[in-house]
């Protein structure tokens, strides 16, 4: 087993935190809280490291004289500008909010907005790509719920509204619950695999 130390650490920390959840001992609980606190800090540091990696990647791309190097330069510039402004003033300072409101929000919500087209396009092609009852039920449901959500200008169709909410409140809830329970089982199994050292994503 490579890197026995890291494996030991992973397992030990995991087990302590897990026990901290289930064992009603004050000590364990507070220990769990401290450990999770550290984990949160580490995750935050990891984000910075990740951004370091982002910078590194785009630095290398931008020095490489190619078409997309311009993009990488733009990325680096905007990144450092934002770091500077938001860092110098606070995240909620008007200048920071100006960047947020006039660059980030427009782009991000536009990205979501084009999904309104791309998703419709995907559904149109879905039936050709995958013609089976699953897809048929899927598309039919989508259409019903869509038209049941809002009135067509002057004309309102209450029946559609009721059908929509029935779909959303009965069968959808049933299915979603089944999916969530299954996922929960998957999550537990995956976590356990890590805590017995079978999976070692941390370079082990």
């Amino acid at each position: 087993m490579k890197a026995p130390l890291s494996v030991a650490v992973a397992i030990a920390i995991g087990l302590v935190v897990l026990l901290g959840y289930f064992m009603p001992f004050e000590r364990l609980t507070s220990l769990r809280i401290v450990l999770l606190d550290w984990a949160v800090i580490l995750a935050a540091v990891a984000l910075l490291v990740g951004i370091g990696n982002l910078i590194y990647v785009h630095w290398r791309k931008s020095v490489r004289a190619q078409g997309e190097s311009v993009h990488s330069v733009a990325l680096l510039v905007s990144l450092f500008l934002t770091l500077g402004v938001v860092g110098w003033f606070s995240p909620t300072h008007p200048y920071s909010l100006w960047i947020f409101n006039n660059i980030q929000v427009p782009i991000e919500s536009s990205l979501l907005a084009i999904l309104a087209v791309l998703l419709a396009y995907a559904l149109v092609r879905l039936l050709r790509r995958r013609m089976d009852r699953f897809s048929l039920v899927f598309v039919a449901t989508v259409v019903i719920v869509l038209i049941g959500t809002a009135p067509l200008l002057g004309f309102d169709f209450p029946i559609l509204g009721d059908l929509r909410s029935w779909l959303a409140e009965i069968p959808a809830v049933g299915g979603a619950r089944g999916i969530l329970l299954g996922i929960a089982l998957g999550i537990i199994a995956t976590g356990v695999r890590i805590l017995i050292g079978a999976d070692r994503p941390y370079g082990g």
């Binding site: 809280i33 999770l36 606190d37 984990a39 949160v40 995750a43 935050a44 606070s90 995240p91 909620t92 920071s96 909010l97 947020f100 409101n101 980030q104 929000v105 991000e108 919500s109 990205l111 979501l112 907005a113 309104a116 087209v117 791309l118 419709a120 396009y121 559904l123 149109v124 092609r125 879905l126 039936l127 050709r128 790509r129 995958r130 013609m131 089976d132 009852r133 699953f134 598309v139 989508v142 259409v143 869509l146 038209i147 959500t149 809002a150 009135p151 067509l152 200008l153 002057g154 309102d156 509204g161 909410s165 959303a168 409140e169 959808a172 809830v173 979603a176 619950r177 969530l180």
Partner: protein, 768 residues
């Protein structure tokens, strides 16, 4: 096989004839049995596996499981040394000039026999095939290789095929048995050793496209796989054209193969369309076909070259059946140079031996006579040595040496052995070798090698650079369809916005909406409300109209707001929300509302916050101590708050069911206090509703009020008379939804109409 079709005039001859009785073209290429034999080897090995695989393919569900198992252990095998070896070997070889040649010549024959015949009518098949071959390439996927077979139409095609295949195979293996000669034995053994090396070498498909593109109507069908091939194929062809016959070969094989296979397997019902298509192909490439076909007849090694490479048995055995029984021995001899082809690096030694014994062979029958004669002048032209040599650069010099040693026995002139002939010379042979004959292999070889080397380097170099998105995409049907959909939907949305129409009635309030309204109305003055902004900036378009009416109501009631979030940008979203949608209230930071920033650590973090808010988020986003510190009082919105249950209301505004669930599961339990119960209400995006609603069900009751999406936002606005944003968007939203639904329905139906029986790249599948 009752009779043979002339590949020249296409007329049918009795199969005992060697020449076409109509056009006199030679019907029976002087085939060396070796390749078929060696095919036979594989027929019993790899090919058997393949046909088995086909049956699996046709077996529907069954082979899935077996394949599964096969895959399971296959994968572990893959890790085992041996396999890692061949893969790395495969890689290693790519540094030598062979692979391009090998691959290139290998593949053209291989596709046609499976696909040229069957798949011509419907493209899906060959697309289906490609992954399979790639699959075989790594042997851990071999088990799964033919999963493709799921598409029904190609399924039963395959059943026919595999039926035919297996019996052909049997027939063929007998034949192979007859001519088990000692040197063949060796080859067979080598063949067996070579198996593993061969499989990877056969699969690469740089050349697939040139036939594939004949068959393919729309290249976008190729999907991802198309790309690499399309990009590699042209330059491989052009490069390989160093020897024109290379090009010829790779083009002409599909013709004569299908030529022969067409008639020779009468039991399989060939669709007319296929026949036509083939004949068309013929006509098209006639002038190419004829010369090559001839030259192929004239110089023995070439057919082997082609057949030697074939990975699947049929063509080989169809050929085999055609061949009139000719003394295999000589043919075997002449085929000497051939087997190395398939043999990867083992080429060396066998090549040498045969090289030595080959030429001296006295021609025995007329057949070989002619072959020998023809071969002489041929060689210089057809560059057989060139490919041969290019296969094994090392022994370029060998062939020249051998003949001289054999034909001019040295007579010892001095010493005790004087007068004796054929005595081994003390000095190295090399010294005495006369200058190689005019058709110096060496020269051609080096050229050819060079061309192939260049080819390889080019190909490798190309793999390095990223490939541009294919231009055609810009004008592809998808592109048109996408743009059309975009225009329709955008116009539908723009129209009401431009006309400022407000016809659509705002939705009547739902129980959830009413509940929220009552709760807010019931709040004490200057209530302390915890407001969680848990949505991405992208969702502002939906969440702001959905939540503005509610938050507006809260502010009208003069509530103190404490803003938190569980996503990093949540606090900023919150600031934006207050400064844009609620600007008129002019809430002041820290006095009327406090932005506590975001709670990191997912569920655990939220749990900690629920347990002790002040410990987890001690400061405001600006870094001021929010809960008071050292005598300094807490900020107004938080005065007297120590537990979550001290808030008068907790409202979660979120787009993510995850976040909503986390709040319900982690925080809700802390809202119940012996004194009172703090209500938890949610404003969710439409996408989260189905997953959040269960918590609002009477039987659950963990969430006391629920608003979801623009719809309920509008309903709430209608209740409080602050319709604002929702009213502005409502008509456009409604019309957009209806038009989108219409587009989806119509487009879907049309696509179904067009798409029936056609596999759009990623395949029809039943998840049952």
């Amino acid at each position: 096989m009752a009779d043979t079709r002339c590949p020249m005039c296409g007329k049918v001859n009795p199969d005992d004839r060697e020449e076409c009785q109509y056009c006199g073209a030679r019907l029976v290429p002087l085939i060396i049995e070796a390749p078929p034999e060696e095919e036979g080897e594989r027929g019993s090995g790899g090919a058997a596996a393949e046909s088995a695989a086909w049956e699996r393919g046709s077996g529907g569900a069954r082979e899935k499981e077996t394949g599964e198992a096969g895959f399971e252990e296959g994968f572990s095998e893959f890790e085992a040394e041996g396999d890692a070896d061949w893969l790395s070997e495969l890689r290693g070889e790519e540094n030598l000039p062979q692979p391009p040649l090998v691959r290139g010549e290998e593949n053209p024959p291989q596709p046609p026999l499976i696909r040229g015949e069957q798949s011509a009518p419907q493209p899906p098949l060959e697309r289906g095939e490609q992954p399979q071959e790639a699959g075989e390439e790594l042997d851990w996927t071999a088990g799964e290789g033919l999963e493709e077979a799921e598409t029904p139409d190609w399924l039963h095609e395959l059943q026919e095929e595999s039926g035919g295949a297996s019996e052909d195979q049997a027939a063929f293996e007998d034949e192979a048995g007859d001519e088990a000669l000692d040197w063949l034995e060796q080859m067979r053994q080598r063949g067996e050793q070579a198996q593993q090396e061969e499989i990877p070498e056969e699969t690469p498909d740089p050349a697939v496209p040139d036939w594939l593109e004949q068959l393919d109507e729309e290249e976008e069908d190729l999907k991802g796989f198309g790309k690499p091939f399309r990009s590699e194929e042209p330059d491989w062809l052009s490069e390989a054209a160093g020897g024109p016959e290379d090009l010829a070969v790779s083009q002409e094989i599909p013709e004569w193969l299908s030529e022969i296979s067409g008639p020779t397997t009468p039991e399989e019902a060939e669709p007319e369309s296929v026949a036509d298509e083939q004949s068309v192909d013929e006509l098209a490439s006639d002038e190419i076909v004829v010369p090559d076909w001839l030259s192929e007849l004239e110089n023995p090694p070439q057919p082997p070259l082609i057949r030697g490479e074939q990975s699947a048995p049929q063509p080989a055995l169809e050929k085999g059946e055609e061949n009139p029984p000719q003394p295999p021995l000589i043919r075997g001899e002449q085929s000497g140079p051939q087997p190395p082809l398939t043999r990867g690096e083992e080429t060396r030694q066998p090549g040498l031996e045969r090289g030595e014994e080959n030429p001296p062979q006295p021609p025995l029958t007329r057949g070989e006579q002619s072959a020998a004669e023809e071969a002489e002048p041929e060689i210089s032209r057809a560059e057989i040595p060139s490919w041969l040599a290019s296969m094994r650069p090392v022994e370029d010099a060998a062939p020249p040496i051998a003949p001289h040693e054999a034909s001019i026995p040295r007579v010892e002139s001095a010493g005790p052995l004087s007068g004796f002939s054929g005595v081994l010379s003390p000095q190295p042979e090399v010294g005495q070798v006369p200058k190689p004959p005019t058709y110096s292999i060496k020269l051609q070889v080096s050229e050819n090698q060079k061309s192939h080397a260049d080819l390889l380097t080019e190909m490798l170099a190309q793999e390095g650079e990223a490939q541009a998105i294919p231009r055609p995409a810009m004008i592809s049907p998808q592109h048109i369809l996408r743009s059309a959909i975009a225009l329709i939907i955008m116009l539908a949305v723009l129209w009401p916005l431009i006309t400022g129409s407000q016809e659509a009635p705002l939705p009547s309030f739902s129980p959830g909406t009413a509940a929220v309204n009552q709760l807010i109305n019931g709040l004490p003055d200057q209530a302390q409300v915890l407001l969680a902004f848990d949505y991405e900036p992208a969702l502002t378009g939906e969440m702001e109209p959905a939540a503005s009416a509610v938050v507006d109501h809260l502010m009208l009631r003069g509530a103190y707001l404490s803003l938190v979030s569980t996503s990093p940008l949540g606090p900023i979203v919150a600031e934006r929300f207050l400064s844009t949608t609620q600007a008129e209230h002019g809430y002041a930071s820290d006095s009327q509302y406090v932005n506590l920033g975001f709670i990191p650590g997912g569920p655990a973090g939220l749990l900690a916050f629920a347990e002790s808010p002040g410990r987890v988020l001690p400061y405001t986003l600006e870094g001021n101590p929010a809960w008071g510190r050292g005598g300094q009082p807490a900020l107004p919105p938080l005065q007297g708050v120590t537990h979550l249950s001290d808030f008068d209301l907790v409202m979660v505004i979120t787009d993510s069911p995850e976040a909503a669930r986390t709040w319900v599961e982690q925080a809700q339990p802390f809202l119940e206090d012996e004194s009172a119960q703090t209500p938890l209400v949610m404003v969710t995006s439409a996408q989260a509703e189905p997953l959040v609603r269960p918590y609002y069900q009477p039987t659950s009751g963990q969430v006391q009020g629920l608003l979801s999406g623009l719809r309920d936002g509008g309903a709430y606005g209608r209740l409080t008379g602050s319709e604002g944003l929702t009213r502005k968007y409502w008509d456009a939203f409604g019309l957009g939804l209806w038009v989108a639904a219409a587009v989806i329905t119509v487009g879907g139906l049309v696509n179904v109409g067009l798409g029936v029986g056609r596999d759009r790249g990623w395949g029809i599948r039943d998840r049952g």
